[in-house]
Assembly symmetry: C2
Homo-oligomer: 225 residues x 2
């Protein structure tokens, strides 16, 4: 079972180098080469590679956009290759863009050839791999935006009772007082009472500020419903 690889890079010499390197592996087939993003997307659709080596900076359509199109195909297109991004420069925002788009890896072109080959195999296997400097950034970012967020029952809900915390979460989900009452099988007034206490305990004004607090305190987290 050979790994089908598509190489997308605007520099002919780079393409040739990678192609030669990879084609020399018995388990890897280079099924195509493209010199810009647009062509890369086309070839990606027609040659259905397992792995696309994608340069970041390219004329016509950059690697990020091309990766997005390959990874989020229009209805009808079923094939989704793995994308391994490559860059000459020591990264920056590109990385995050690429990862958000669903890329499986991010390597610097100055990596040892053996690393590149290993990377292709890893990515083809459904795993992922990043250049060490990229990994460091990602971890730092990850740690920063969720600083040692202990998941204990009691967050830092300044002395909220369980019931109050429950109400707070429902508010942060966008429910009205009536809906909360229905949800918890309570009278609407009871809900109001709880909310009143929460507001005073947290020193806030209205439910909009409660929602803000919930997000900032990690009671709810963007993207989990």
């Amino acid at each position: 079972m050979t790994i089908r690889v598509l190489i997308v890079d605007d520099q002919a010499m780079v393409r040739a180098g990678f192609a030669a390197l990879l084609a020399a592996q018995s388990d890897i087939d280079v099924v195509g080469q493209a010199e810009d993003g647009r062509q890369g997307v086309e070839l990606g659709r027609s040659t259905h590679p397992d792995v696309v080596l994608m340069d970041v900076r390219m004329p016509e359509m950059d690697g990020l956009e091309a990766a997005r199109q390959l990874l989020d195909p229009p209805p009808g297109v079923t094939h989704r290759p793995k994308v391994l991004m490559l860059t000459t420069f020591d990264v920056d925002d590109y990385v995050y863009e690429a990862l958000r788009a669903g890329a499986s890896g991010f390597l610097l072109k100055d990596a040892p050839p053996a690393d590149l080959i290993a990377a292709v195999r890893i990515v083809a296997a459904g795993e992922a791999l990043l250049a060490p400097s990229v990994t460091r950034r990602l971890i730092a970012d990850f740690a920063k935006q969720r600083p040692a967020q202990r998941r204990d029952p009691a967050l830092k809900l300044n002395g909220l009772t369980p019931r109050e915390a429950e109400v707070l979460e429902l508010i942060a989900r966008g429910l009205s007082n009536q809906e909360i009452a229905a949800h918890l099988v309570l009278a609407e007034q009871t809900v109001k009472t709880h909310i009143g206490r929460v507001l005073s305990k947290l020193d806030l004004r209205d439910r909009a500020q409660l929602v803000i607090f919930a997000y900032e305190a990690g009671v709810v987290v963007p993207g989990d419903q």
Copy 2:
């Protein structure tokens, strides 16, 4: 300049294996071995290693807690080693805990010896490195919680006008209509008009849901004020 390494693992054979492997490298010194977390923290403080190889599961004090203590030292202790977590099992929540605590890497013990050696060097150099399966999880998580968030001027604010977007952000900061009016030098009614249009465009009900939308869409981000 040799790399000073401390090995923390409850299995004597594992310690011996790693020690032999690493000590054979000319640029690596094994400066100590510990068989549980508590001892690991002690030795970490006294032998000031550059890199700590830390097993996750251990009696007495697990690797996570030990890593936390080494990476977030009490006042007075200035030394902060890099921590490279090791595990036998294919990971889970441990990973996230470890990364939040500031670990520089996470490897599976079944990785090739050459990988372990390379990892020590990478981590010592201030970079980071993860096992491919871990990398995949981290990326997936990263991509999920910030889904393809285009950073262009226009987010995905379903056709909001600039003014409307501005109002939305102020709502997401917790301001009342009056305060928004004052802030933008407008009549309160004008603010209401804008909000009304935003609500209908986004198909939402009230300002609380607007706040939720703002966080989910990345108009505002937890922890940036």
